[in-house]
Homo-oligomer: 142 residues x 2
């Protein structure tokens, strides 16, 4: 809990630095995001945030997510035919494996792949700015 509080305070600090006001609504959304262990979409975040502050509107959730994304505090994912999902951007970079039966999202990281991507871009005369790697899988049955 101490952990989470620090993290939230830190995030709020980043916002204030960026000239973004920390309103009641934004604090609620930020707390939800900081505590989330999954990859909720806007309406799920809305549902959760309302438990903290019932006045939060879906519009504000969207506006806040855009602001947080712009501040680099939140990351947006657009998985295959699904609404956008979000997570805080404080964890080290990772990519995602999506279970196509259950929708479960599993995180992973491959330094080899990360490096290969940069090499490929370089070979083609480009600098890699960001990438998207998603594995759509089915649980192995043996």
């Amino acid at each position: 809990m101490r952990q989470a509080k620090n993290r939230i305070a830190e995030l709020e600090g980043i916002l204030r630095e960026g000239g973004v006001r920390v309103t009641r609504q934004r604090a609620a959304i930020l707390k939800i995001l900081a505590e989330a262990e999954d990859h909720p979409d806007a309406s799920e975040l809305h549902r959760r945030a309302k438990e903290i502050d019932a006045t939060v509107s879906l519009s504000t959730v969207y506006r806040t997510l855009s602001a947080l994304e712009q501040q680099g505090v939140v990351q947006r994912h657009a998985f295959e035919n699904a609404t956008a999902r979000f997570e805080t951007a404080d964890a080290p970079h990772h990519d995602h494996l999506i279970d196509i039966e259950t929708g479960a999202v599993i995180e992973f990281r491959s330094d080899k792949i990360e490096q290969l991507q940069a090499e490929i871009a370089a070979e083609l005369g480009y600098d890699l700015v960001r990438h998207r790697l998603e594995l759509y899988c089915r649980k192995r049955k043996d």
Copy 2:
């Protein structure tokens, strides 16, 4: 040209096999797709198809693309905040590098990455069904 004609005939054959009628509109869309060297979206395909058959409607473009996708003849891509783009699925598998300044799409393939992906899925207890790998890049300036 011979090449293209064969390819189109072949694609039409696949459709008939699948019990999908080859209409005037579908033939036009198929021809455009077979000749396309880029990754056009639905409205661009519509624009091009109308030059062959002016009656083609955007609805039919969408419906045809869905049908072709289901037959495995066409592949749909949903790049970062952009409309869906399409290409025939007869070329060997490849992934895409997107120039974030110009929007240009460049194809590439890395057998190493392909293999690593399968390994990662396996390690997590999954079978890789399909994946999405996109590199968002900026032209290197030196």
